[in-house]
Symmetry: C2
Subunit: 361 residues, 2 copies
């Protein structure tokens, strides 16, 4: 018997059923987070009381992608500098930075990522205000941090994160909004986003198998976004890597022009996320350069229809506030990954070589 996993796949109807179920659950997961809204108000009050002005976020994989969004949520709402901090500087090199004015946010769905737990423990001893954002309120990370913000997404079983990614975005923007004194409005807006997700998910799910099919033998892609949508670009690329074995690289619209555009040709598809905010001209400029190379162009996001000469258009609704667009624009990428994995006869529920909790250092 050949030993390749692909030889005996699950019946075609079941490949990725868990992954799809969790994509569909996202509106309910988002409401699950909002049930904890009071805890966000309390943590924000604590951070204001202790005058925390520098936000340090740490996480890996989807959590780190969500942190890219946090940079904008904290920068645009309470106008605080937020950074995806280097874990290895603290954990491996033992560099003792001044953390007295820092709000540290440890991001881990499982709450068991070893170096995130270690970073948060050290930061707490060094005087940082530490907050765990996790889907498991009893996890090591929740214990290590001074405060807890539960994701409330319900158990996530597919290896590739979907609803916990969405809820991590929501957690970061809700905390940022409370720090800016706009918590109540943000909660209302997030409820509206849950409704918009309810509308768009079934629609995209129905279209996606046909859209994904021609990409069945694609080995590489670029995914481009800018500003708040850089997080989406990173997350969509990660879904394609882990569920479809596509070497998908996320790039800002501007970085594309600083080298990578040279790699494009008609067999190198590009997924672009365009949104109705100040970054739209930069994204349109970048997608125009993509078109010149003859590369296949997938346009997604709330401003997908603004992109000239796309090969596929996958729009999402405009959210009540532009800052919330990444909560919608990730969905076409999730569903494309689901449909493409199935077209490739891969099981997105159980990608080869991965487990749900990553203990790698």
């Amino acid at each position: 018997m050949p030993s390749l996993e692909a030889v005996e796949p699950a019946p075609a109807g079941e490949l990725g059923s868990q992954f799809l179920a969790e994509i569909r659950e996202q509106p309910r997961a988002l409401e699950g987070l909002l049930a904890h809204a009071g805890e966000f108000a309390r943590v924000a009050a604590l951070a204001r009381e202790r005058d925390r002005r520098l936000v340090r976020m740490v996480g890996h994989g989807s959590s780190d992608n969500a942190a890219s969004y946090g940079v904008y949520a904290f920068g645009i709402l309470p106008r605080l500098t937020a950074l995806r901090d280097s874990i290895s500087l603290t954990v491996y090199y033992g560099s003792e930075l001044d953390l007295s004015g820092s709000l540290v946010i440890g991001l881990s769905q499982s709450g068991r990522t070893p170096d995130v737990v270690e970073y948060v423990s050290r930061a707490r001893r060094a005087g940082a205000l530490t907050v765990a954002v996790t889907n498991d309120p009893a996890s090591d990370l929740a214990v290590a941090a001074e405060a807890l913000l539960p994701l409330g997404a319900g158990e996530e079983r597919a290896v590739a994160a979907t609803k916990t990614y969405l809820n991590t975005l929501a957690a970061l923007v809700l905390l940022a909004a409370h720090l800016a004194g706009e918590g109540a409005r943000c909660e209302d807006d997030l409820r509206r986003v849950a409704e918009q997700l309810d509308g768009v998910i079934p629609e995209l799910e129905e279209r996606m198998p046909e859209v994904a099919l021609p990409f069945s033998f694609v080995g590489r892609m670029f995914v481009i976004g800018r500003g708040v949508e850089l997080a989406t670009a990173r997350e969509v690329a990660l879904k394609l890597l882990e569920t479809c074995r596509v070497a998908a690289e996320p790039l800002t619209a501007t970085d594309l022009a600083h080298g990578p555009v040279a790699a494009l040709d008609p067999f190198f598809p590009v997924w672009a996320i365009a949104t109705h905010d100040e970054t739209l001209p930069a994204v349109l400029e970048a997608t125009a350069r993509v078109s010149e190379t003859g590369a296949t162009l997938v346009a997604s996001g709330s401003a997908a229809e603004e992109i000239a000469r796309p090969d596929y258009v996958l729009p999402v609704p405009r959210p009540p506030a532009p800052l919330l667009s990444p909560l919608l624009s990730v969905v076409p990428g999730q569903l494309f990954a689901w449909a493409l994995a199935r077209a490739k006869r891969l099981d997105p529920d159980r990608p080869s070589g991965l487990s749900k909790v990553t203990f790698a250092r």
Copy 2:
């Protein structure tokens, strides 16, 4: 006549001759930077005088890759938090952050990258201490910033940066060392690195065409590093993208395990950078997982020989201080890109669709 550029390449002996000449020039370029050592001492004194404790670096492409190194140089030597700041938060979203305690470093070889110049101008008006690190002391960036640190690399003509990347690393570590009161020792160490480069470049150059040949039809790769070598992973991946049209994605050794490892198979080569510092165990753990997938493994860096079961080993000398290893470990990647581009009949001096100065927003 067909219009494809590849139809009439330069004679084979000349493809990439400029790129190679500039790789070879790197030891002299590094000495060129050291001729400006006094200016680094002066800028460091100014930053100390004004009590600047948060370092914000901005750049694109190779400059941004070098900024990844700056995070460690400033974190390990003067123990300052340094971040690759979001350009779009300031330039597109107009978010007015508190920059009164910030040292802002604008990184651009040409000094003409529009959004970097714009960011630095705004930061200066907002009260940041602004420094331009550029190879052109008469550029817009040099004019926009309060202080100038010239790269002194001599004119760079190949589109893909090599000597200006090396000198940007050197500029960041030299400024960090002066801030930590260790400027003189760092200068001595950098002179020693220039000598080590003189030894290793000809040796690697001779070996590389044979090493690169089997990769002639490779379309995708991962490049992994950790800590100080994340900058190297990013820069090697960018060289492969822009000169060889390889979809090369840089990853930290830890992030590899958070998803991307699922994409690996025997036709997906991985380039790993291992160095003799606190991150070595994490890199060895990651490369062991790579080996399990059957992926071809290229081991480089000063600790290349510590990696188990590599297919190719490309070691570099151990520098006088572990923090300086990225100045050496980028060289095998540069020379591999040069040799692979030639094997693919591409001209690394003039990658398709790129120009030396990038005006993209």
